[in-house]
């Protein structure tokens, strides 16, 4: 049991469309981070949410946006999809109250853009 749940598992979209991915953090966790993992590469940091605000952001364009809800769950939105957005999108949760809390990952959403 991952503790962190993501939906959907797989998604196929057409170039130019918009997509929303969802994440529920592990119970007791209050911080959600999103990562993009292309084939053969490590996870790349997109952004992190805490207290419903974006706390930190990686080198991703504004087409990537997110939201965190009062129950700590989160969404990742990608607008104007490009073929290069095809990847595994990982959600990871952690607890801010524990110094240097490691990440707990979900199983990811596999996005294919055609």
């Amino acid at each position: 049991d991952a503790g962190v749940t993501q939906s959907p598992t797989h998604l196929i979209k057409t170039r130019g469309q918009q997509v929303t991915l969802r994440c529920s953090p592990k119970s007791g966790h209050d911080t959600v981070s999103w990562y993009q993992q292309a084939l053969g590469q490590g996870p790349q940091f997109i952004f992190q949410y805490y207290e419903e605000e974006e706390r930190q952001r990686g080198n991703f364009p504004d087409r990537f946006s997110g939201h965190q809800f009062p129950n700590y769950s989160s969404e990742l939105n990608v607008n104007a999809l490009l073929l290069g957005d095809s990847a595994l999108y990982l959600c990871a949760s952690s607890y801010t109250g524990t110094a240097n809390s490691p990440l707990h990952f979900g199983n990811g959403t596999r996005l294919t853009v055609t």
């Binding site: 981070s33 490590g42 990686g58 990871a92 490691p102 990440l103 707990h104 199983n107």
Partner: protein, 112 residues
């Protein structure tokens, strides 16, 4: 720029062989170091972590890692691998700001 370099993309070993996976990071300040593992069909999970203190840290399933600050390295070791250690291994670090930076991973295949 922050980065992590994992020297081996794919390692193949026989059972009982010793394992060492290299990891070097690039960052000018204090870091927290992690090794994550992804077993086939499972999610990424924490193998071990280093924050401070003894630079030799022990994790689950007999794995250990040594932080050498002068070399910016955090190599993963296991004296005797098992078939069940077949997985992908990721080295990562974060700073107190929260963002984690990952390497590209090393795929370990252990032959029975």
């Amino acid at each position: 720029a922050q980065s992590v370099s994992q020297h081996n993309h794919h390692v193949i070993l026989s059972e009982a062989a010793s394992l060492e996976l290299g990891c070097n990071y690039s960052y000018g300040g204090t870091v927290n170091l992690f090794w994550y593992v992804q077993y086939p069909g499972q999610h990424l999970q924490l193998l071990l972590k280093y924050f401070s203190g003894d630079p030799l840290v022990k994790g689950i399933k007999g794995f250990e890692a040594e932080f050498i600050k002068s070399k910016f390295s955090f190599n993963l070791r296991k004296p005797s691998v098992q078939w069940s250690d077949t997985a992908e291994y990721f080295c990562a670090f974060n700073t107190n700001a929260g963002k984690s930076t990952f390497g590209d991973g090393t795929t370990l295949t252990v032959k029975p």
